[in-house]
């Protein structure tokens, strides 16, 4: 259905590494979706008013069911003496856990200020874990902007959960990455139909899911930004199944193929299970692709989804990539994607937003994928844009969402075509 892999992919293409102003979120932002996904967890950011303000602004709207996240805002007195800060933190946690008895996992999340003053959250987590075990498990990770970019916050969170997982010898598959429940259920259903039954998910929806890990565990990533989690899982003896990511018909098939091969699923059975959803996905993508075909696309760095999405848009939707900017290229993770991405686009890692804007304006792409801070200004300059954050918040993985994924890119173009707002000549 799609073109054969290019003779020369982008794996060895030189990358333009940029170090200037980075117009990206920090890792705290991941809390917005992680707290919905892990239903008995609370995320306590130890940070400043800026962190609290980011969390309520990044989602665009407030999630008003009393959210399972909050910020312990550092004040002048906390900065003066550090021993004090530990006690203060424990006091806030005590208060929080007594008010929210439904909480089974508490994440102490480090921020820029807590990292700079070297507040030891792992020690705090240990002490609090000892106090609240076994009812509440307290873990810590850093979502600070000085260490993490946007989706790296999820990576840090999942990686923090791995060392605490119990040991098992079971032969099992773990899907790694926070997906919307509807998508996760579809993936589990597909794997079950392929005959792969012993499947677990990281992060699990609840603390008592029974998730365990060991030398007979294999795992597949569903998100390309989980390099740290990959390393943590390997340290526990689990083995990674490298694959392209399940975006679009081609990506989903390639991802499932890699998993099926690992579990010895025979080709005829694989084809029988995937034929119908593959065809549906291809049809749905084709409809949206009518608006995308032969247009150019330019990616500003955002979520690390950029390389897989560029592969999807160029190979399944007929677009031409001009620049694929991504915060970080983890070759062990996106290598199979780079193999599929035809040479041509400029690959950039990191960012110098002003220079990148110059390049973007210079090439006048048909569609620019960028963050919310840049989208309206570029629209006002006459460029069509797609907000990148929606690609992280919306169900876009696997066959049944392939059409929706293409639709996210085609909608801004259809909207521009639909509007008749210019004054008559």
């Amino acid at each position: 259905m799609t073109a054969p892999a290019p003779a020369t992919g982008c794996r060895d293409v030189p990358v333009l590494a940029e170090r200037g102003q980075q117009e990206v979120f920090c890792g705290l932002t991941g809390i917005i979706w992680l707290h919905r996904k892990i239903q008995d967890a609370f995320f306590l950011v130890v940070g400043s008013r800026t962190c609290a303000h980011l969390l309520q602004s990044a989602a665009g709207v407030m999630i008003f069911a009393e959210p399972r996240f909050g910020t312990a805002i550092l004040e002048e007195t906390d900065l003066a003496g550090l021993a004090d800060a530990q006690e203060e933190l424990e006091r806030e946690v005590d208060r929080l856990l007594s008010r929210r008895p439904d909480i089974r996992q508490l994440f102490l999340v480090g921020s820029c200020p807590s990292e700079v003053i070297k507040l030891d959250l792992s020690r705090a987590a240990e002490r609090l874990s000892a106090r609240y075990a076994p009812k509440v498990r307290v873990l810590n990770y850093s979502g600070s902007g000085i260490e993490t970019t946007f989706t790296e916050g999820e990576d840090a969170c999942l990686a923090a959960m791995v060392p605490a997982l119990p040991e098992t010898d079971r032969r099992q598959l773990i899907l790694v990455g926070a997906l919307p429940d509807v998508v996760e259920d579809q993936a589990l259903d597909l794997l079950s139909k392929l005959g792969i039954e012993d499947v677990a998910v990281l992060p699990a929806r609840h603390a008592d899911s029974g998730l365990a890990i060991g030398p007979n565990t294999v795992f597949a990533l569903t998100q390309p930004f989980l390099g740290g989690t990959l390393a943590a899982l390997e340290r526990r003896g689990a083995r990674h199944i490298p694959a392209p990511f399940p975006f679009g018909e081609e990506g989903t098939t390639a991802w499932l193929t890699a998993v099926a091969r690992e579990f010895g699923v025979d080709q005829a059975h694989f084809d029988a299970v995937t034929a119908a959803p593959r065809a549906r996905a291809a049809r749905a993508v084709a409809r949206a692709a009518e608006d995308l075909r032969d247009r150019s696309v330019f990616f500003f760095p955002d979520s690390q989804l950029e390389i897989p999405l560029a592969r999807f848009l160029t190979r399944e939707c007929g677009m031409r990539a001009i620049e694929v900017g991504t915060p970080y290229i983890h070759r062990a993770v996106v290598g199979p994607e780079l193999d599929l991405l035809d040479r041509g686009p400029l690959l950039t890692e990191g960012q110098d937003v002003e220079r990148q804007l110059d390049r973007c304006r210079g090439t006048r792409p048909g569609l620019t994928v960028c963050g919310l801070g840049l989208a309206n200004p570029l629209e006002a300059e006459g460029l069509a844009t797609k907000w990148a954050i929606e690609l992280v918040f919306t169900p876009v993985h696997f066959y049944e969402q392939a059409g929706d994924l293409a639709g996210l890119f085609s909608r801004p173009l259809r909207r521009r075509a639909a509007l008749r707002l210019e004054a008559a000549e």
Binding site: G20, V24, S48, R49, T71, I73
Partner: protein, 507 residues
Amino acid sequence: MKLSVWTYEGPPHVGALRVATAMKGLHYVLHAPQGDTYADLLFTMIERRNHRPPVTYTTFQARDLGADTAQLFKTACLAAYDRFQPQAMIVGASCTAELIQDDPGGMAETMGLPVPVIPLDLPSYQRKENFGADETLFQLVRALARPMDRSADVTCNLIGPTALGFRHRDDIIELTALLGDMGIGVNVCAPYGATPQDLTRLGAAHFNVLMYPETGEAACRWMTRELGQPYTRTVPIGVGATRDFLGEVAALTGRSVALDESRLRLPWYSASVDSTYLTGKRVFIFGDGTHVASAARIARDEMGFEVAGLGCYNREQARMIRALAREHGVEALITEDYLEVEARIAELAPEMILGTQMERHIGKRLGIPCAVISAPVHVQDFPARYSPQMGIEGANVIFDTWVHPLVMGLEEHLLTMFREDFEFHDDAGASHHGAAATPRTPDPDAAEAPDSGGEVIWLDEAERELRKVPFFVRGKARRNTETYASERGLTRIGLDTLYDAKAHYAR
């Protein structure tokens, strides 16, 4: 350390950003880690601005901390000057950069940039957004404004409107017209729409109009002291305040008051019989001090509401709000913790909330209608239509906005008349609101569990009767009856108690 879930104000550098974004020809270099750039989207998304805020963030990372973040700042500063060629620059640190003590102000001074560079010292761990805006405007004015001859015609400066302000865009237009009717021109409006060069001309105005004390008071005080310009104390939100404001302007300028009231509709709308139902509605008011004070006056004097409680989130206005609360015979709530606000609202059970977007959510949870009167803002607070809060049109807008969430005049009476009707009942809600009507459940006893309010017990007959009271006054009826009962040492509320209480509280 203080646990916070939602905040009313951002950090002080966001206040500085609001000033910089409101202006033209100014550039802000902010020493800040990667991630602090989220602030851009406040302006491009919530306010739908079509330009990026004029800010360069140094976006340092962990690897830079071991190396040289100061050099990073200098490079960013020079690059920003070269690229944007601003008339002036402001430089400062966000919360994290404050901790690494690179001293952006000191560094910028030594760089020999050919334009004024104004350092900002905004203590991130003590102060908040409004302070940041107020202080930034003050520092800009102090650095750029100089005494000069007054303009030949009587002019004033409009001081305080910023980007991301609650209806600032439209208040400027309304005020400019209002003053124009008295023959007074606007010399400079700042920071909204001003350039640094404009700020050098501030001294030509005869007086200043302090539109928003939250963001403009420090600058106005300085201009009084250094430029000899008096400033207005009345914020012209509401009919009475608008008249008082013009009186103040007349006193400052020697002109006579000229107010064209031909478009003013609030007084007649409020006096017309349809508005009878507004009488004595108990409202809870919360927001920034300035908007709360304005709203309290309008609520009592111009809408005929009863102020059941009020408060503000900015401590800078605490004294004024406490005095105002005493005047209304209520206790002021000064807090930035929305859970406290929610608890107070639940306790007071007002019939309506005048608040921020935060209180709108609280109202949704508690089933209490809410109209928004103050920042923090939401994309809804930037309507496409002209929608000021100040002046004549502001009063009209406020009447409509406050009445909209309520079940309206005649409809309220009809609800009372048909209160047992299966379609036209309490839970169906107001007819002009979108949500689909809920048919009444066949078993009325299942609809609402009796709630024994503390030690007082509601007997079944009274509880059933209470349920026949329309929902928007049911809370008040329950409270009044319970208060009445407990004042008389009654432990059980029967039908008689209910109606005795009703007669007792009848107005």
